[in-house]
Symmetry: C2
Subunit: 365 residues, 2 copies
């Protein structure tokens, strides 16, 4: 008789309550051998049943699954991963000070979409917040060496970013959000910021604005570059004058940049903000300085969220489905994980301009 011919102690009554006093005793963990014995088959059969492989009859398969279900048994994922199977984990590392992360609705929406699509495929998302890119890179190296994740999502692509090359070399399937331009070693999902910014500028120009302020985000980000390039192009084609001020996306810097722009002389008649947080902060500054919006100055936000809906006046903004951007990124990642295709650039829909109360023709018009 084999030595392990005993079922681990377990009440057959599903609603049973383990004796709380014995918290120290480790409850015997079920193994596939237990399921096999109870179903009257071998462990191999259990494996075949759980992995939906041919080689056993439907009746046997059903019986095995029923036994497993009853005992709430599932294959130990470490043992499974050890055999080369997937971890069913995707990793995402965000290199920003954790305290400031919460203010960006963008992240939460994007993450929701990403997570939702991935968990449909049974893939969990592992999230890590680090201080800087150096730490981020170290995490990628560690995760790759430990075989911890099946895929990665890279955010905030900068000019001359070292991460795509590194991650590609680590051979971890990955997708970049925001990359474009030079051929990347990884698949990327990108938004046409140039066209989006042009949309705003054409709208403001049509209203009659000729001198426009721009509160931009972090200059090293590629999408910031693309927006600035659109502004450069529009200077010539639309014949308007634009002054850009760089910030770190924080409400504080958005506010102080607004103050600078509104105090300057001559004063611009419209301000474009690279994020919703800064636009809302800017509107606050304008109100505080008693500069009527949109009477004296119009305000446009590059991003849309509850922050642009709620103020009075509500802020004209480029709107995009950030949640859908997350699901799109997840779809690309799943495809990359499954097929390891050649890298490609996938374009997400260009944001649409939603006109609200914060924009109007300039004062003189």
């Amino acid at each position: 008789m084999p030595p392990n011919d005993q079922v681990p102690l377990q009440d057959s009554d599903g609603s049973s309550e383990p004796p709380a006093s014995l918290a120290g005793t480790a409850p015997a963990r079920l193994r596939s051998t237990d399921i096999a014995r109870l179903a009257g088959v071998s462990v191999s059969a259990v494996s075949l049943a759980f992995n939906a492989r041919p080689g056993i009859s439907d009746a046997t398969r059903k019986r095995i699954l029923e036994v497993a279900e009853e005992l709430n048994w599932r294959p130990h994922r470490a043992a499974r991963a050890l055999k080369g199977a997937n971890n069913d984990v995707a990793g995402i590392v965000i290199a920003r000070p954790a305290r400031t992360l919460g203010v960006e609705p963008f992240f939460a929406h994007f993450l929701s979409g990403l997570q939702s699509r991935l968990s449909n495929e049974g893939i969990a998302t592992q999230l890590l917040i680090v201080e800087d890119t150096e730490a981020e890179v170290a995490v990628y190296r560690r995760w790759a060496a430990e075989n911890r994740v099946d895929g990665l999502v890279l955010l905030d692509l900068t000019v001359d970013d070292v991460r795509p090359r590194l991650v590609a070399d680590l051979r971890v399937p990955a997708v970049i959000l925001g990359g474009h331009g030079a051929p990347l070693p990884l698949t990327s999902v990108w938004v046409d910021d140039h066209a989006a910014m042009t949309r705003i500028l054409e709208y403001l120009a049509a209203l009659g604005h000729r001198f426009i302020g721009h509160v931009s985000g972090i200059p090293s980000y590629q999408h910031t570059r693309r927006r600035l390039r659109a502004i450069g192009d529009a200077r010539e084609s639309l014949g308007i004058d634009i002054a850009s001020v760089a910030t770190d996306y924080s409400d504080t810097q958005g506010a102080s940049a607004t103050r600078r722009l509104l105090e300057a002389s001559p004063r611009c008649t419209a301000i474009i903000y690279d994020s919703d947080v800064m636009a809302a902060a800017g509107l606050g500054v304008a109100t505080e300085m008693a500069v009527p919006v949109p009477g004296e100055v119009s305000i446009v936000s590059f991003d849309d969220s509850i922050l642009t809906h709620l103020p009075h006046p509500p802020i004209t903004a480029l709107t995009r489905d950030t949640y859908a951007l997350g699901t799109l990124t997840a779809t690309e990642l799943l495809h990359t994980m499954a097929e390891r295709p050649e890298p490609r650039a996938v374009q997400a829909p260009t944001p649409e301009l939603v006109v609200r109360g914060s924009t109007a023709p300039p004062p003189g018009a």
Copy 2:
């Protein structure tokens, strides 16, 4: 000669670039045997070195670690987990529609704090968003059976919540955010909502308000109950009249509840909102209805965030360090994972009232 007496093909030059054209060929994975051979020791020695155990000399330990570092080798985490070691993963499941999740600054801040503390200990956070409690419970059962996580954080505790009992029975270390009252089978971190609400009510009563509106959150949540109980107590002790309206925390319902309260006659002279999102939405509605804030009606938010800072007037709010709440929860979870102590209730600091421009004495005063 042992059959695996060959180093997997690997350039000694760290900056080397694998031939991109051979994307299909699987790069040989390093194993502890490789490190052992290169360091001139056995695999056991490698294990001892990596787990900081006695049994090898410092010189040997150093040599092993150097070889591993050079090749970017780290123990395969699945193999390690299979031997009973920790996964170094904490799980958190949020049962809310993913699309609405992004609007709550609370989650992002809390998650940031939690994550930051956990990753200090090398523990990653696995995040899953599900539709309802049923799905949430299924996830807990699956994760426990698969041995996927070392700890769990439970959110949004409701009255008669089934989850604490279930998770306790699954023997997964876990911490609840928001529980209190009846002795729970799990350690919980809780905030004294009763005292916090009382603080608001006393402040408003001192200003002279006698009829106050309350836009509450989801009634089945325990913290909502505690707030309502404080309101009940204050009716008697402070001699004020309060009308509560239940919502689902959304800006939409917050707005419509505000409309109802402001249209009622007699009209309340102050409104308390259970969340910052609803307070901001409510301020918008008041402005739209041309009800001056704080001239005709004062507004107080139970939660503080950028949403209460930015509007004009900025909203008087209870402020608490949500990020710190996350780190506190993480600390409790780490303790629970390490020591498996008896469940206990840990109280987080009671929120402080920050008076801003949205509150003033009632019109007649």
